[in-house]
């Protein structure tokens, strides 16, 4: 992770770096149900990609395929050219971190401890080292602590380090979750509805934070329902409907696409009676919400 020590790359989409995450033909079936069908997605270095779609479009299922919670039935997901292992922990080690739609902090730990847990996979003290406490252990603990504090300051929680996660305001908890994910030194961070339940001011802070994360060289994937937030934030937007990519392109293109509007207003939100794209496979809108 290079929050502080890499010069931020230019923030324009035209100069984005090499692809980090590539999903090719990802299909996920649950029995006879196809939740995600043949989805391609590329995320480049220093890019923010938005993933939108009506409820039940397969966003979270696709997300889970990316993060190793599900192994796709067909297709591959590669991270920096390596096929991602189908295990959440291995995916984190490979360089992809995530946050959760419904906040899943370690509620009874302090903010600092939460972030320090994020450092787990980048540190190596094992049993004997921890028991004997040699210089290596001390160095690593100090470095872990310093790094965690640095990340808390990065997300604007430097003063709340010793506060219990469960006592923190909602917006702070969201930011703490991002700090915890950043602590795993990811190349790519996936944010699952980072502004759910936030007021406009908190939403503004969240988008500022995401820009800063991007500027530090990370790629960001955001799932969101808040259209204004997504269209202001993202370099590219991918609209998923009934498990398939409906439109992909710049925010402007997606925003003005009649099919997107129709998917949301006409047939979205589990409302099946008005089908805007008859060619899509009916009955694939169910998805397993985690």
């Amino acid at each position: 992770m290079t929050v502080t020590d890499t010069p931020p790359p230019p923030a324009t989409p035209s100069t984005v770096g090499a692809p980090i995450l590539e999903a090719r033909g990802v299909t996920m079936r649950f029995g006879g149900l196809t939740a995600v069908k043949d989805v391609d997605m590329t995320v480049n270095e220093g890019e923010i990609v938005g993933l939108i779609g009506p409820n039940g479009a397969g966003k979270t299922t696709f997300f889970n395929c990316l993060t190793g919670l599900y192994k796709p039935t067909e297709g591959v997901v590669t991270l920096s050219g390596q096929v991602i292992p189908p295990k959440p922990r291995a995916v984190v080690v490979a360089g992809m971190a995530r946050t959760f739609q419904n906040i899943r902090l370690f509620a009874n730990m302090t903010a600092l401890e939460n972030v320090m847990v994020g450092r787990y996979c980048r540190t190596s003290s094992m049993a004997l080292t921890s028991i004997l406490r040699g210089p290596k252990f001390r160095r690593e603990e100090a470095a872990t602590r310093a790094r965690a504090q640095e990340l808390l300051e990065f997300v604007g929680l430097g003063d709340s380090a010793e506060n219990l996660a469960r006592n923190m305001p909602y917006g702070d908890q969201r930011r703490l979750e991002i700090a915890r994910a950043l602590a795993t030194d990811p190349k790519l961070i996936l944010l699952d509805e980072p502004t759910a339940g936030m007021n406009p001011q908190e939403t503004k802070q969240a988008s500022d934070l995401i820009f800063r994360i991007r500027d530090s060289g990370l790629a960001v994937v955001v799932i969101e329902h808040d259209m204004r937030f997504i269209f202001n934030l993202c370099d590219r937007v991918l609209c998923l409907v009934r498990g398939e990519v409906l439109v992909q392109g710049s925010p402007g293109e997606v925003q003005s696409d009649p099919r997107v509007i129709e998917a949301y207003i006409g047939g979205g939100d589990d409302d099946e009676d008005d089908d805007p794209t008859p060619s899509l496979d009916a009955g694939t809108t169910q998805e397993e919400q985690q």
Partner: protein
Amino acid sequence: MSTSTPDLTHGAGHGDHDDHVTVPLLERFPGRGSAAAWPLGLVGVLLLVGGTFLSWSYTGDVLGDLSINFYPGGVQICMIVLGLVALAFLLAHRGPLSRLGDWLDSAAAVRNLGLGAVAYMAVAIGVIAYESGGLINVNPGGWVSLVGALLLAASGLMLVSRQHKDPLFAKTTSWLEICAIIVLMALVLFGAAYALGIGDGASFVLFLMFVAAAATALAKSGVFTWIGLIAQKNRPVLMLGAFAVAFLFPFTQGGSDENMSIATQVLIFAATALGLNIVVGLAGLLDLGYIAFLGAGAYVGAVLSNSAFATIGWKPPFLVVVLVGAIFSSILGLIIGSPTLRVSGDYLAIVTLAFGEIFRFTMGNLDGNNGPDLTNGPNGVPAIPDLNFFGFDFGQPHNVAGITLGRFANYYFLLLVIAAIIIFVFVRLNNSRIGRGWVAIREDEKAAEAMGVNVFGLKLFAFAGGAFLAGMAGTVKAHHDVSVTPDQYIFLESAFLLAAIVLGGMGTVAGVLVGATILKLLPEKLRFIADYRLLIFGLVLVLMMRFRPEGIIANQRRKLEFHEDDEDLAERIEEVHLEEAEAKA
């Protein structure tokens, strides 16, 4: 009431000398009659203590000897101590110690001490009457003390709590803190020695009541909050003090093998429970067959010993045996853990329960008829000789500074070392990367996995590590017990180990030590209700789960986990934490 109660709103009651019959009313209108409360308390203390100098009982064979005037002894001493503590709190409420009262809730302390004294006196008089055939045999001293206790309780109920500052923020000098810790340790040592020395069950029950009353009073007054904080601040002193107390304990027993035998049993039990606490308290895994790991260590210790019944010819030095026992146990842990730790809690509990039984049956069957002759079957391995370290024979009494230390004292010291190792490992692991991983797993396993924590690996490590420590303790236990048989390792023992942790406080060292002491010491001292032992344990555990699920000495994080919805508690614990963090910085 004087000006020292700024929270008083019912000023009209000043100077009223209501008597204490109207207690409930007084509680509702705290201003009324509280002027009478304080002198009433003083009179109560005077009567309570004065009564102990008179004879309580006509006959001299109840509760020790309470029939002599002006010679307080036995259960009377407790009332003198309680009376003096109450006096101190009364003087803190109003009087020379009132600076102390600025920080402590002295009224609550007097209330609890008073109620405790009433209960104590009621039971004491009841026992005297029952044992010697009627209330007529209770001498005036008993009644005087009872009246004193009643007055004290009434005074406590009438006293209005002064507005006091939170003891959490008391800035005390470090020498005072260290003195407090030393006093605390001395009290523990003296109390433990005194409790072990009590001969009859009734006196022991009374002593427990006294301890309970004093502890409740100190807890309610806020003294324990302060002690908890200074214990955090002066951790090394506390640890050193605790080990000094534990080390000095055998010297208080005058070579009595009976008490030292109980003490070593407590220590074996406590050491094993501390090992289990890593599995249950830190990693959050429910292990119902932990005693099997102790048994595995004990069997290794037995078959590799110099016993004539040992089945293996290899006789390595004891330190090697300890290591072999520990490794053997942890291998068993790995074998049981690796398939089952992938599934969630309930399955693990069932599998470990089954494992405990399988272990016992296997040990009972490896007798040459059903398999290789390793354990002599149900007969076990008897006649295990005492340990001998470089000519130091554990079976022989030794003389240190004029005090004879018998066989059990020798084992006591060895077990103390084992317990120290286990505590050391426990504390170090808890405050490390691994400990953080365990907390994360307990909090939210899925999120921990998604944050890169090796959930399965950490669980397996806790399981095998716990087994390692139990195996270590087991090898010593084999020599201590002289014989090893399968029926020492029944399921009930595992359940008791778990009960010690739940009772004392999951995830804490002090709590588990307290829990283990209670569970081992009480059955020894309360033999007259031995038939109801399990019933009482069950009841106590149910009550604990209802009223204090986090255990006697609570781990703060565990407390939070048990009280998910209690926002005030979370704020309070955060305050304590911030205070500690500040103290550390």
